[in-house]
């Protein structure tokens, strides 16, 4: 397998600090004070467009973003290609390439008849809750760039991640647990970075890609000293931090430190409760596949995500690695899918039972797709011109299969959705207008969607 996977980190070197340490551009924001960082300039921009013709009733209050790192093959999972089956073994679009049909059978699922491959027998049971998009597109077939683009809208500049924008737009729901948590990320910190947004919108990393998530992931959670003494120490620290901030009121880093202490203090009591997935009933645990070796890791992350959602986390991202199947796709993809299939159904079922599905937007996506033609004998190469994602809950039009990637899955041909439109749509589902959600920096108002973005209304219920 080429080492392109390693190059996931290509962009990490542009340190976020480097970009923001001198972020005086947000002078308008200088009134900002300690833990009141949430007072935000968007309030100002809200005045502009009070008339809301064509606005969407927002349903989603939070996002669970399931990021499949490496680029899952769309033509083997959610994008049915009967033509590809027929052309199997024949010459493909690149010189010397050969079409490779999916080794897995596709069938129509649920009442809505969505095409899903046999790799997802469990998820298929809740097909009617899904909106599958088969016409996603991104710019570059390189992991690092495409990943950062999926997460921030651009791989050229250091910009805030979607999660940071969402948290900034919606505000924190809880004071005692961060509003944006990224479970098991790897690669650039930009993917959960706040860039020029105030530091309290940065995602908190929980664990790394290699390890399972359990309570041990956040060490030092147990206070060493009594709470009174700790509060005293904290007040002392924060006093000094405030003084430091006064010498340079625009220093976001200091602001970030101040916020991190307040959050840390409250997390000590709240986070262990949230992380304790063992307190769930056995029935619940098996709904998420915790009783099976294959599904335990991903299942426990999803169960944790649900508990975080309940606790008020606005944006929960779960990274699941190793979808970069340049070779050995027959075995590797099957086992990747098996690991997530049952837990995914579990999450959707569980949220539904709790009446939370409507207000929780679930997104499942990689950074790009794979080629419908073979690489080697048993692999597929990167493909940025077409990939699939699906959403569920949170006001999406369920039971929908949207867009087309031609007969073979090479390139989005109908209703192509570039990342920027996906971002605009995601914000819309949360009731945020991507053109209004701005932040002043370096002399202009920045948006997640920059100067573009189109809300794909077809995807909204």
């Amino acid at each position: 397998m080429p080492l392109c996977n390693q190059r996931m980190n290509l962009l990490t070197r542009r340190s976020i600090l480097q970009q923001t340490a001198c972020g005086f551009g947000w002078l308008a924001f200088s009134a900002l004070s300690a833990s009141k960082g949430l007072a935000s300039p968007i309030v100002q921009s809200r005045g502009d467009g009070g008339s809301s013709s064509g606005s969407f009733p927002a349903k989603a209050k939070r996002v669970i973003f399931l990021y499949m790192r490496g680029g899952p093959s769309h033509v083997d999972t959610f994008d049915y290609k009967p033509e590809l089956e027929k052309a199997d073994g024949q010459g493909g679009p690149r010189s010397g390439s050969k079409w490779m049909k999916s080794p897995w059978e596709f069938r129509q699922r649920g009442e809505s008849g969505l095409w899903i491959s046999e790799l997802f027998p469990e998820l298929s049971q809740v097909a009617d809750d899904l909106a599958i998009v088969n016409s996603m597109q991104t710019d570059v077939p390189a992991h690092a760039q495409a990943t950062v683009r999926l997460h921030t809208g651009t791989s050229q500049f250091v910009r805030p991640s979607v999660g940071s924008w969402v948290l900034y737009g919606l505000g924190a729901e809880s004071e005692s647990i961060p509003g944006f948590i990224s479970i098991g990320p790897s690669g650039s910190a930009q993917n959960y970075g706040n860039a020029f947004l105030p530091a309290n919108y940065q995602g908190m990393r929980l664990g790394n890609g290699n390890r399972e998530v359990d309570e041990t992931q956040i060490s030092n959670l147990a206070p060493l000293v009594g709470s009174e003494r700790q509060r005293r120490e904290l007040d002392f620290i924060q006093n000094l931090n405030q003084k430091k901030l006064q010498t340079d009121p625009a220093d976001q880093e200091i602001e970030g430190v101040i916020h991190s202490y307040e959050m840390a203090f409250r997390m000590q009591s709240e986070l262990p409760k949230v992380m304790n997935i063992k307190s769930e009933t056995e029935e619940m645990q098996s709904l998420y596949g915790l009783d099976r070796k294959e599904t335990r890791t991903f299942g426990s992350k999803l169960l944790l995500a649900r508990r975080m959602a309940e606790a008020g986390v606005r944006f929960i991202e779960i990274s699941q690695g190793s979808w970069d199947h340049h070779g050995n796709i027959q075995t590797a993809l099957a086992s990747k899918c098996e690991a997530i299939d049952l837990p995914l159904r579990g999450l959707i079922t569980d949220l539904k039972q709790r009446g939370m599905l409507d207000e929780t937007l679930i997104v499942w996506s990689g950074e790009f797709g794979r080629t419908p033609y073979a690489q080697g004998r048993d692999g597929r190469d990167h493909n940025h011109k077409a990939f699939s994602l699906w959403m569920a809950g949170g006001g999406v039009k369920a039971g929908l299969q949207y867009g087309r990637s031609g007969d073979f899955g090479v390139e989005a041909t109908e209703n192509a959705i570039p990342i920027v439109d996906f971002h605009a749509t995601l914000l819309a589902l949360l009731g945020l207008d991507h053109e209004q959600l701005t932040y002043p920096y370096a002399g202009r108002d920045f948006r997640l969607t920059d100067t573009k973005g189109r809300v794909v209304t077809d995807l909204i219920a």
């Binding site: 976020i16 340490a21 505000g171 060493l224 904290l234 880093e253």
Partner: protein, 950 residues
């Protein structure tokens, strides 16, 4: 969710979607990818437009194209013409249907039988646009049956191209053959590749790919050789006179601001931007900055006192600063701190990483070599050459030679997928990782992107990549780690001669234990082999219809692991049960003069590569060109060699019997290569100033940033070379410049507007301390730091297990430092993905690739560490104890002395009156005096001020 009540929800869902309106702006999304500035093209197209309309014929004349124009043509226009039009309209194809030829600029401009295709700059009446955009099948180009209709995006590209005056680099010569400069064209002229590549592979896919490939490559090479001369980082260094002094033009005559040559370049930048710098930092801040930037440690109380004292009395503060800098650069701490910088670049870590994480128990020798290089101020050119080809340097002294071998550990310490079951893929992956590291570390080039295709953004073809890959595939890498499953990819360590006298770890076992291990190894080995035979027989049976006994496969695996571990351990011992001197590193593969085999041999080789089981890269040999980077699609070999970026490739011809590493290494530091020195000084600048002159320190290519102060960069690069590659001299120059001494906190409202990101250094950049600095400082402040170099690492010393232990409990004392570990953090064990908590929390690089600039996150888990961690508590306790012992008793005088002492130790400054009151209050509220002092210390360690270096 009652939890939500009373909590701020300033925006909530109330920021409703207001209005959604379709954007009419043109989308340049794909195009913009190629430009550093998002609006670059738009702007440039507008200015070109004005120009073009003014005098449209002028734009047609041959004139050098800008880089943007060139990239645009090569990525957007030429491929479309070549793939969709040349078949009927080109000299190349010998066809000019409709009297039109599109493979030369002249052809495009003169048009065909139906008329001119367009007037450059004028989109309105373009025949070309009409035809390629036509929906009428009679007019449509390409015509039905000759290709697909061109997409709207392509139409847009062509329209833009015409609008900006149709920049076109092609000459009258045949497309794709023309302007290539240097060594590449030589190899081409010997043998016209198109066509001939087909022989010997008749009819199969390979031939098709080969010819397509070659054509593509040639096209690409032609344009890239132009491109590389145009991109700034490949241009020769320019020795320009230092600009005049003066922050502003008015100030130019007095010119009192600058202290050094560096400052004059920075001043020139101020003048261009119309900004002035802030005032200097105070002496305490400056001293703290110097100490951390040079040694990674805070100044001691004595250092601070004497500096402050002399600051006020000394005749020349500049001399004082120079004294401090010189003194610090001679310390062991300096060597350690700067070695750590290089270890970031060298992606240093102590295990394979990836799916199966196996420790590298000898990586530390390379670590120590790097420290020693900074200790002795090894010239930077030599520093690089030894790391890439130390084993190939002439050296008669045994010890020196052994050191040179250790330096090549640089190539061996990378991460690798040890479980890869195709040995040839494993070999090419390893070579790729080495190429990636070497080129990025030394030249800021993302060379490895050209493994599967010509580089999309750099002047590097896949063929050039293959020429370099041959160098590394001819190199044996001794990474010294047990293999993965079924001992796959097991590699021995590099064995150094005992006479070199390097210290080794004591043998962990008694003679009796060793004898038992030897016996066990023998026993298990024979059991393993026996079982293997049985299972093989069983498999044969099963094929013939018998039953396959799966249960015993597990047994075989277990035996295999046992045998592996024992044999690996025993391999570290001499026959006399003494420890061998082992390291990681590389050597040349054996060389065997090629037999004239002709095509038969080639075919055999290709078959062998396709056969997963048999390793083929066993000798010094050229690498085959792998179609799309696929190791199973080997085409003709490409001679080993360095990329001809600077016209001097012929001086570095690789001898038949050598890998070519020595040639590569000397080419990297050759005088014609302007990139290496630029990258080096830029790294130093970034480590000292906080941001590179080129922001993207590891990427000097077209996707990276351009320098803010190009003349300064070249000045420093030249100084580096002129000084005999004396890196320390560059550090000294920066440390003693005025721009280094600026305040980092003073506001500068005017400059903020002009240069919000402070690219022009109108004030210093405050930075978060690095992970190691945070831990080491706490140890220094508590008088616990032991600066003695540590032999190996805790993990290597206890490294009996064959996997990096990841269970938190077991990691104590192995990966995780214990409270009693007092060494500098550079000596802590660094298995990939399992680095010590304190380092990982504060953004230690993961060692997966070159990383010249650290990230800096700011998250609650860091706060929790400082508040609740036992080790931190122990340190706080010890500092508080020391303070109490220094100034015992309850007198008010001693109270204040204690506070001052603690403040100076931790923050290098005295407390203010306000702060004394705060401390007093904190202590009064505390349950006991002792607890109060510990709270104070922990509190100060936890402040932003401690963690951020002003």
């Amino acid at each position: 969710m009652d939890r939500m009540k009373g909590i701020q929800m300033p925006l909530g869902n109330s920021v409703l979607l207001l209005k959604y309106r379709r954007l009419n702006k043109p989308l340049f999304s794909l195009v913009s990818l190629f430009f550093v500035g998002l609006y670059g093209l738009e702007l440039f197209s507008q200015s070109r437009l004005a120009h073009a309309q003014e005098k449209s014929d002028k734009a047609v004349k041959s004139k050098p194209l800008s880089n943007q124009e060139l990239v645009f043509f090569e990525t957007k226009i030429r491929p479309v013409l070549a793939n969709n039009c040349y078949a009927c309209h080109s000299k190349q194809a010998g066809k000019s249907e409709g009297g039109l030829q599109l493979d030369t600029r002249e052809g495009v401009l003169s048009g065909g039988d139906t008329g001119t295709l367009f007037v450059p700059g004028n989109v309105e009446k373009s025949l070309l646009l009409k035809r390629i955009g036509a929906t009428n099948p009679d007019l449509q180009m390409p015509p039905k049956g000759h290709g697909k209709k061109l997409s709207a995006a392509v139409l847009k590209d062509f329209s833009l191209w015409i609008r900006i005056g149709a920049p076109d680099p092609r000459t009258n010569k045949k497309a794709g053959k023309g302007s290539s400069a240097g060594g590449e064209s030589k190899s081409k002229s010997g043998k016209p590749e198109t066509g001939e590549a087909d022989s010997g592979q008749s009819g199969d896919d390979g031939a098709k790919i080969a010819s397509a490939r070659t054509k593509e490559s040639e096209d690409a090479e032609a344009y890239r050789s132009v491109l590389d001369s145009d991109w700034w980082s490949y241009k020769p260094l320019v020795r320009a006179e230092a600009p005049q002094a003066g922050v502003s033009d008015a100030d130019a005559s007095s010119g009192t601001w600058g202290l050094t040559a560096i400052d004059r370049y920075v001043e020139a930048g101020y003048r261009v931007k119309g900004i002035s710098p802030v005032s200097d930092a105070g002496p305490g801040v400056l001293l703290r900055r110097l100490h951390y930037d040079l040694t990674g440690l805070p100044p001691s109380l004595q250092d601070l006192e004497s500096f402050l004292e002399r600051w006020d009395s000394v005749e020349s503060r500049q001399v004082l600063i120079e004294e401090v800098v010189d003194r610090l650069m001679k310390t062991e701490a300096f060597a350690v701190h700067w070695a750590r910088h290089w270890l970031d670049v060298a992606r240093y870590a102590e295990s394979t990483g990836r799916e199966v994480n196996i420790p590298y128990n000898h990586a530390w020798r390379y670590r120590d070599w790097v420290i020693d290089a900074f200790r002795t101020n090894k010239p930077y050119d030599r520093f690089l050459v030894e790391q890439i080809a130390g084993d190939l340097l002439d050296e008669s002294d045994v010890k020196q030679r052994a050191k040179n071998m250790v330096a090549t550990g640089f190539l061996a310490i990378g991460s690798r997928n040890i479980n890869e079951n195709n040995p040839n893929l494993f070999a090419t992956d390893q070579a790729d990782e080495q190429i990636d590291t070497v080129f990025q570390a030394t030249m800021g080039m993302t060379m490895a992107c050209a493994r599967c295709h010509d580089h999309k953004f750099e002047p590097i073809t896949q063929k050039q990549y293959t020429a370099v890959a041959g160098i590394f595939l001819s190199t044996e890498t001794w990474f010294g780690a047990e293999g993965g499953n079924n001992s796959r990819n097991f590699a021995a360590p590099l064995e150094l001669p005992n006479e070199c006298g390097f210290e080794t770890l004591p043998v962990a076992w008694s003679d009796e234990e060793i004898e038992k291990k030897r016996a066990d190894a023998k026993k298990f080995r024979s059991e393993f082999e026996e079982l293997q035979k049985e299972l093989q027989a069983n498999r044969k049976d099963a094929k013939a219809g018998g039953e396959l006994d799966r249960s015993r496969q597990q047994e075989l695996n277990r035996l295999n692991i046992k045998v592996n571990e024992l044999e690996y351990q025993l391999a570290t011992l001499t026959d006399e049960n003494r420890a061998k001197v082992l390291a990681m590193g590389v050597t040349e593969k054996p060389y065997k003069a090629a037999e004239p085999e002709g095509n038969k041999g080639k075919k055999r080789e290709q078959r062998a590569i396709a056969n997963k089981r048999r390793p083929v890269f066993t000798m010094i040999a050229d690498s085959p060109f792998f179609a799309r980077g696929d190791v199973e699609m080997a085409l003709e070999s490409v001679p080993r060699g360095v990329p001809n970026l600077f016209g001097n490739a012929n001086d570095f011809k690789v001898p038949q019997d050598a890998s070519g590493r020595l040639q590569l290494a000397t080419w990297i530091v050759s005088k014609e290569n302007p990139v290496t020195s630029r990258v080096a000084v830029n790294r130093v600048w970034a480590w000292m100033i906080g941001q590179g002159i080129v922001d993207s320190v590891d990427n000097f290519g077209t996707t990276g940033s351009e320098p803010t102060h190009p003349e300064l960069l070249d000045h420093l690069a030249m100084e580096l070379i002129d000084s005999g590659w004396d890196l320390r001299a560059v550090i000294r120059k920066i440390a003693t410049s005025r721009v280094y001494q600026l305040s980092s906190t003073e506001p500068n409202p005017q400059a903020v507007v002009q240069d919000p990101e402070n690219k022009y250094c109108w004030r210093a950049k405050s930075r978060r301390l690095q992970a190691e600095e945070i831990r080491d400082s706490m140890l220094v402040i508590s008088d616990r730091l032991d600066e003695t170099p540590v032999l190996a690492t805790i993990m290597a010393r206890k490294g009996e297990r064959n996997r990096v232990d990841t269970s938190p409990g077991k990691r104590k004392g192995k990966g995780e430092p214990l409270p009693e570990d007092r060494c500098r953090s550079i000596y802590l064990p660094l298995p990939r993905g399992e680095a010590p908590e304190v380092l990982e929390l504060f953004d230690l690089p993961d060692g997966m690739m070159v990383q010249g600039v650290r990230e800096s996150t700011n998250v609650p888990s860091q706060a929790l560490y400082l508040l609740n961690n036992q080790t931190v508590a122990g340190i706080a306790n010890s500092i508080a104890q020391n303070a109490l012992e220094q100034f015992p008793g309850r007198s008010a005088d001693n109270f204040e002395k204690r506070v001052v002492w603690i403040y100076q130790k931790i923050l290098s400054r005295k407390p203010t009156g306000d702060e004394l009151k705060m401390v007093d209050q904190l202590l009064k509220q505390s349950e006991s005096s002792e607890a109060g002092w510990v709270s104070l210390v922990r509190g100060l360690l936890a402040t932003a001020e401690f963690r951020y270096l002003d």
